[in-house]
Every structure is written in structure tokens, then in C-alpha cells.
């Protein structure tokens, strides 16, 4: 935030505790700042928020609706509740649906032990998936010299799409198709290795929460990721403006 701007401070309650925050912050920002854990998958500090995965839903007193905390601005006097049985129920169900949608065979996954989806599954107490698995036939694109894309593990969070456009400025990624047929594509839906726009910076690979994007040559459980650079780069750019 530029210094000296006349951003106002607002006060609100998070789980009954009084907190104050800048008026331009989201509920998620304020929760994170105050050490309140809210599960997220599509959100990543430094990228735009799209409210897609719906894991960060919270309750706001006085409303029956649930609010995605990453895209809901705070208001003066609002009272946010982050942990209820209802929220827990929905968060679990969302994760189970994600697991069921593609083919998540953790035991043979390049990101086993380093995966946001797997981690949240455990954290939310998922010991089995209650809906039938879909087992879709998905492809793997290993045409890029350094990276590979495994659609079996993609959760369509679009972090790759956003980091490539918003931070790298290359806009290699897009999403094609709708609903169950949605998938991430590179350039004009061509093999990644033939992309003329990819700079091979590796940003997409590092922000991907799952084993969908990985470095070539890594085997089961070897793919670790670095994420901090996104917020850092985003902040530096803001300061320059």
C-alpha cells in the first residue's frame, strides 16, 4: 500500500474477538494477519483472488449466506465466524469432490508429502471419500523440455493461469471447456513444448498446489515447491507504481 494514502481503519469481530484492519482488506487477509486458519486452495498471496475453490467460506452474523473470505471485503462492525459444523461439513465435501473428480493416486504421485490438497484432506479429517470416484481418462503433457503437466492431478485452481499472466506477463495458460470438461491449456491448446510464449521461468510449476505441474526427472514424492516469490514480486511491483 502506498504510504500516506488515506486508507481508513475498520473494526470488526473474528470469532468473537475484536480486530482492526485496513478498509481495503478481505476477510481472509484479516484472518491470516490474526493467526486464524482458513483453508484455501485457489488463493495464493500475490495473485488476484477469484473465489473459485470455495474452501475459504465463512459465516457472517446476520446473514444466512456463506461468504468466500478471499473475495469478501470487510465492513465496519461485521462479525465473522470461521469455524462451525456447517462450514466444516462444506469444506470436507468440497475436498472430497475434488479428490473424486480426477485421479489422485497419492502413493505414486510426484507431489506426495508436498501437496496442498493432500495436506488439507488430512487437516480437515478426511479419511475416505464418500462420493464415487469418477476415474476420468486424462492425459499427461511431457513435451516441455523442463516441466510436465499431468491433468490427472489438476484441481483447476488456475494459480498457473494467474501467475503466468499477472507476474510473469507471458499468459501461456488458459482454461478451456466448462464444468467437468474444463482443463488447463497452453497457448492455443497445443503441446506445452511447442508454446511460443512460455519463457520457461517455472513460476507456474512452483505455485501449482498439487502434482499437476512438476519438474521433469522428479520421481514419487520428490517434487517440492517454492511459493514465497509470488508475494515478494507482487509487492515490489506495487511499491514501484
Amino acid at each position: 500500500m502506498p504510504n500516506g494514502s488515506n486508507i481508513k481503519v475498520k473494526t470488526l469481530k473474528i470469532d468473537g474477538k475484536d480486530v482492526s484492519a485496513r478498509e481495503d482488506q478481505t476477510i481472509l487477509d484479516v484472518c491470516k494477519e490474526n493467526g486464524v486458519f482458513i483453508p484455501t486452495l485457489c488463493h495464493l498471496e500475490g495473485l488476484s483472488n477469484i473465489g473459485a475453490c470455495r474452501l475459504c467460506m465463512v459465516e457472517v452474523e446476520g446473514s444466512k449466506k456463506l461468504f468466500p473470505s478471499c473475495t469478501t471485503a470487510i465492513t465496519e462492525g461485521m462479525s465473522v465466524i470461521t469455524q462451525t459444523d456447517r462450514l466444516k461439513h462444506y469444506r470436507k465435501m468440497i475436498l472430497e469432490l475434488i479428490f473424486a473428480e480426477r485421479n489422485h493416486t497419492c502413493s505414486v504421485c510426484v507431489s506426495n508429502s508436498h501437496c496442498d490438497l493432500q495436506y488439507l484432506g488430512q487437516k480437515m479429517g478426511i479419511d475416505h471419500v464418500r462420493v464415487p470416484y469418477r476415474f476420468p481418462k486424462q492425459s499427461v503433457d511431457a513435451s516441455h523440455p523442463y516441466f510436465q503437466l499431468d491433468h490427472n492431478r489438476c484441481i483447476l485452481c488456475t494459480r498457473c493461469v494467474r501467475v503466468c499472466e499477472e507476474i510473469e506477463g507471458a499468459h501461456v495458460w488458459d482454461v478451456s471447456g466448462r464444468g467437468i470438461n474444463a482443463k488447463v491449456i497452453t497457448d492455443l491448446n497445443q503441446p506445452w513444448g511447442t508454446s511460443e510464449t512460455c519463457t520457461t521461468c517455472g513460476k507456474c510449476v512452483n505455485v501449482c498446489p498439487t502434482g499437476a505441474l512438476s519438474d521433469k526427472g522428479r520421481s514419487v514424492a520428490e517434487m517440492t515447491k517454492r511459493r514465497e516469490f509470488v508475494a515478494l514480486l507482487a509487492n515490489r511491483r506495487k511499491e514501484k507504481v
Binding site: 479428490f99 485421479n103 489422485h104 493416486t105 497419492c106 502413493s107 505414486v108 504421485c109 506426495n112 508429502s113 493432500q118 495436506y119 484432506g121 488430512q122 479429517g125 479419511d127 475416505h128 471419500v129 464418500r130 464415487p132 470416484y133 476415474f135 476420468p136 481418462k137 486424462q138
Partner: protein, 177 residues
């Protein structure tokens, strides 16, 4: 009275049974409380009338698995899905996006150097169209994730059950652990 325990091996690699044995001498501390009435580790041929706890390794992949698990469920008070194959169909399910005929053809004809032939023998149970986690077929009472679950996790789960408690395994294991 001793708690009657059975263990069953469906479509899995037997890694979960190995992990079970890996409890080493701790098995002795529960041995006097249990009676192993049916298992690949012992020699009983038929599943008993009623078992207190049945531990199932592996996914449901063939008509034989299907018949077995239904029978086992009917004759077990508590059914435990042990390991990722039982819990989420895991590696065996990686064939699911591909039609069964194509898979068998690939294995026994296309890739075979000698005796290129589809396996057809009355003793061979046909594969199901898709491999399923156990709970998709019968009710499961406790899920122990992991590939395989660690011996500590299995020991903890059994020890808790023997004490009459429902083990909380959420911090001990997860998919792929």
C-alpha cells in the same frame, strides 16, 4: 474372552499385511487379547461364522473380491479398510479409465513374446469394469489410510479398538502416507 480378528487380502500388494507384521514384538502385547481366526498369515480355509474385527487390505477388483467382501461383511461385526487400496482403490484403480478388454489384451497378447493368449480358465475370476474402494461396495466402520499405513498407526488403531475406543487417526496418517 478373546477378540476374534480376521485379515483379508483383496487387490493389493500385501504391503499392508507386511506393515501389520512390522509391529514386531508389540504383537505379543496384544496377542493374548486376540485370536487370529482367518488370515493369509494362518491356515484356516473358510471364513468363520462371526468375527469381531475384520481388517481388509486391497481394493475390490474382480468378481471373486466382490463375493468375498460381501460375505465377509455379513460375518463381521467391525470392518476396517486398511491402506489406500481398500480406502480409495489406489494403484489398482489406475486401470479404471481404460476398458478391461484393452488392458488384458495389452498384458497377455500385445506385450507377450510367447503364449499370446487371453487368460480364460474357469478358476480365474473375471475383472470388474472398475476397481472400487471397499466402502463403495459394503459398509466400512474404520478407515486407515496410507500406502502402507505405518506399523505404529496400525498398532495404535488395534490397541484402541481393544480398549473399546474408536481410534482417531487424523493426525497419524493420510492418503499416500
Amino acid at each position: 474372552m478373546k477378540v476374534k480378528i480376521a485379515t483379508v487380502w483383496l487387490d493389493g500388494c500385501s504391503g499392508c499385511h507386511m506393515s501389520f507384521l512390522d509391529m514386531d514384538e508389540r504383537i505379543l502385547s496384544i496377542a493374548d487379547k486376540i485370536e487370529l481366526v482367518y488370515s493369509p498369515l494362518v491356515d484356516h480355509k473358510t471364513f468363520p461364522d462371526m468375527v469381531d474385527v475384520t481388517i481388509v487390505e486391497g481394493a475390490v477388483a474382480s468378481t471373486d473380491d466382490l463375493a468375498k467382501i460381501k460375505k465377509i461383511r455379513a460375518h463381521s461385526k467391525i470392518l476396517i479398510a486398511l491402506g489406500d487400496c481398500a480406502v480409495n482403490a489406489n494403484v489398482p484403480s489406475m486401470r479404471n479409465p481404460i476398458p478391461v478388454d484393452e488392458i488384458i489384451n495389452r498384458a497377455y497378447v500385445e506385450n507377450a513374446l510367447i503364449n499370446k493368449d487371453m487368460p480364460v480358465h474357469p478358476a480365474l475370476p473375471p475383472l470388474l469394469k472398475r476397481v472400487m474402494p471397499v466402502h463403495e461396495v459394503v459398509k466400512v466402520d474404520l478407515f486407515i489410510q496410507g500406502c502402507p499405513p505405518k506399523n505404529d498407526t496400525i498398532f495404535f488403531a488395534i490397541a484402541e479398538l481393544l480398549e473399546g475406543r474408536v481410534p482417531d487417526l487424523t493426525t497419524m496418517t493420510r492418503f499416500g502416507a
